[in-house]
């Protein structure tokens, strides 16, 4: 194991049992075998068992953050629990260097009838702190949680938000070498969440803590993680640099959504007839030069090159712009501008969409481009991008995004401000 490696996971698998009764008997059997010094043959599947995590390998270095993403039931939490040693893998090997802290569920171990203060001590003890540490850090914990007088109230009267605040405050002050964080920050309000990310970034850079982060909030994962692993049905679908992994995940989500759409949407009768084919899409600047990176306020020209088999009357072109976190930002459609395209001739052709003064802020955007017939019942051709294909473009940072940091919105518009002049009058 390398000096800088904090977590090493080698071909790890874990099986679960779908039947409660069988689970009981398997449990007794495995325990029995172990007691007599026999292997439980955990690498074999028995009836009604399945692999919840299947042959997963990765490595996390000190000071590095790994994001685990994937749909529900893909094995993310199971993997995290194995890293924490809550249960052992059924195959493979996990090596952890240093003290491990886990935020798998906030407030687990809080006793509802005890006050916040009493629970801090118990929770800290459960998370592995000793009395001296807690006494020292108690002030910091309370300050970070920022729940005021409620600290002396039984936690059963806490709101979910207060619960999370206190739980996170305790866990983050344990000063582990490795921190495992499961989808726990989703509950807190924005300002607290911001504070948590700031704190996590702080322990990551100052204390060189390795962090494993599970979340469905791809935006947070992208901002916060260096590396990623995308799990589906327990299998490793993509692993590596975070942008690439998120892109691969989005491709899958898109595919799933499309499949659902195809079934439920009777509007599209014939799909991809290819009477008109999109042959290429280019991003051009004002001067017609091809580029992928633009600045706020630039002119963007999206050029669609196509090839038609026949003359097509009243074709409909449409461009959807998506931000990388899967939000539909804008639709460009000549129809919306009251422009009708009477026909396109057989053979190759070009159509261009020109957007002046781009209002988009620093982010990555991607397009979906389609050509329909005039009633929009037939799709001639359809290109769907994701943040990694060449259907994506980037907007550079500007004053707004550098000021706002991770709270940068998608768009910015010039605003005028009217200030009451009397207020400016000092006398």
């Amino acid at each position: 194991m390398d000096e800088g490696t904090a977590i090493k996971v080698e071909h790890v698998s874990k099986k679960y049992c779908k039947s409660l009764n069988r689970s009981m008997f398997y449990g007794v059997k495995d325990i029995g075998r172990n007691l007599f010094g026999l292997s439980s043959h955990s690498d074999r599947l028995r009836e009604s068992e399945f692999w919840a995590v299947d042959n997963v390998s990765f490595e996390v270095k000190k000071g590095e953050t790994l994001g685990i993403i994937g749909p529900n039931g893909s094995g993310k939490t199971t993997l995290l629990k194995m890293l924490n040693g809550i249960f052992w893998p059924d195959e493979g090997k996990i090596t952890m260097k240093g003290e491990v802290g886990a935020l798998i569920e906030i407030g687990a171990g809080f006793h509802p009838l005890l006050t916040g203060r009493e629970n801090v001590y118990i929770n800290a003890a459960i998370l592995g702190m000793n009395k001296k540490d807690v006494d020292e850090k108690f002030g910091d914990i309370i300050k970070f949680a920022d729940i005021g007088d409620f600290i002396d109230t039984p936690v059963k009267f806490y709101s979910l938000g207060m619960f999370v605040r206190l739980g996170f405050a305790v866990a983050v002050h344990c000063e582990p070498d490795i921190l495992l964080v499961d989808e726990v920050l989703a509950v807190g309000d924005t300002s607290f969440r911001n504070k948590c990310y700031k704190k996590l970034n702080e322990i990551k850079s100052e204390k060189n803590v390795a962090i494993v982060f599970v979340s469905h909030d791809l935006y947070a994962v992208e901002k916060f993680c260096d590396k990623g692993i995308f799990l589906n049905h327990g299998k490793n679908k993509s692993y590596g640099e975070i942008h690439k992994v998120i892109g691969d995940y989005q491709v899958m989500i898109r595919q799933l959504m499309k499949n659902q759409q195809d079934v439920t949407n009777p509007l599209f009768e014939k799909r991809f007839t290819k009477e008109v084919k999109i042959t290429n899409v280019k991003f051009l600047n004002q001067d017609g030069k091809e580029q992928k990176v633009f600045a706020f306020g630039d002119t963007l020209r999206i050029r669609i090159e196509y090839e038609a088999e026949n003359i097509i009357h009243n074709p409909r072109f449409r461009i959807d712009v998506w931000s990388w976190e899967e939000k539909l930002i804008s639709i460009f459609d000549p129809h919306l501008e009251n422009i009708e395209i009477p026909f396109i001739n057989k053979g190759r052709g070009v159509i261009e969409c020109l957007i002046e003064k781009l209002p988009f802020l620093e982010n990555r955007y991607y397009l979906e481009i389609g050509i329909w017939d005039k009633t929009r019942t037939i799709i001639f051709d359809y290109w769907a991008g994701n943040i990694n294909t060449n259907l994506s473009f980037d907007i550079l940072p500007n004053r707004v995004s550098t000021t706002m940091g991770q709270w940068t919105p998608i768009c910015h518009f010039d605003s005028r401000w009217l200030i009451d002049e009397k207020q400016l009058d000092r006398t």
């Binding site: 007691l35 924490n84 240093g98």
Partner: protein, 281 residues
């Protein structure tokens, strides 16, 4: 600086071999002393919270049982046998020791199940959880002991000075309870039947053990009592409080040694199997 390296593999504890287990257990218990104490305190202070009559619950069971026996005895249905101290003192004291065992064992065997959500979410010493759950039975013992003191005052009887030895004489019982508790908590975590069986068994065992009546001298029950470890664990501390003597020290010694061995063996079994529970609980 060398850092702690932890590895997890299938059949983890097996791989490391039996001899290293003792060291592991010892270190874990030592490292988690404060955690155990915190959990103990939690159980100790929360057992009677949000309850109207609160701590009085601890004395209701002995009062009702002892009362029933007094009525049964007076109506001639049941003979409690020859006892040389006032019966209420004898019975309440016996119940206090008995309950130390029975509530302790029930608390231990439920400890993993009731902390189920915690076990599946945080990796911490589950041994601490089982050990700490004894706190509940110690609270009720202390409360019942207040009742005993009141009875001593009422009957104007002076307890023997050996009353101060109680903490020592209950050690074997504690070890016995904990040992069984370790195993039963794991089994209960996997099969909930165990918890229910224990609850039923406790009532049965209480009637089988001379807690509320004198040690029988003839019949099957006399033989059973001779081989009943619980009899020694209850009657020896009681005799010590009442008379300051230990008449059956041999039996008590054997039971004590056995309790210690049971405790160690069960602790090892628990250590080897505790992570299996997190998967199935």
């Amino acid at each position: 600086m060398s850092e702690k390296i932890t590895t997890y593999e299938p059949d983890n504890s097996l791989r490391k071999g039996y001899p290293s287990i003792f060291g592991e257990i010892f270190n874990e218990l030592k490292k988690n002393r404060w955690l155990t104490f915190q959990l103990f305190k939690r159980d100790f202070f929360t057992i009677y919270k949000q309850s109207f009559i609160g701590v009085l619950w601890a004395v209701i069971i002995p009062i009702v049982s002892v009362g029933t026996f007094i009525v049964l005895n007076q109506s001639g249905v049941f003979a409690i046998g020859d006892i040389d101290v006032p019966y209420p003192i004898y019975a309440v004291l016996g119940m206090a020791f008995w309950q130390l065992f029975s509530t302790g064992l029930i608390a231990c065997s439920n400890s993993l199940v009731s902390a189920g959500s915690m076990i599946t979410k945080i990796n911490f010493s589950k041994k601490s959880l089982v050990i700490a759950s004894i706190g509940q039975s110690i609270v009720s013992f202390l409360i019942q002991f207040v009742l005993v003191v009141i009875l001593f005052i009422y009957y104007r009887i002076e307890p023997n000075i050996a009353i101060l030895l109680i903490p020592i004489t209950v050690i074997p019982m504690m070890l016995f309870t904990l040992g069984l508790g370790f195993i039963l908590s794991i089994l209960n975590g996997i099969m909930r039947d165990i918890g229910k069986i224990i609850a039923v068994l406790m009532t049965f065992l209480m009637f089988l053990t001379p807690v509320l009546y004198a040690k029988p001298t003839t019949g099957i029950l006399a033989t059973v009592t001779n081989y009943n470890p619980l009899y020694y664990l209850v009657s020896v501390p009681r005799e010590l409080v009442l008379n300051g003597t230990i008449s059956e020290w041999k039996g008590f010694l054997i039971v004590s040694i056995a309790s210690f061995i049971i405790f160690i063996m069960c602790l090892i079994v628990f250590h080897l199997t505790e992570t299996r529970v997190a998967e199935r609980i």
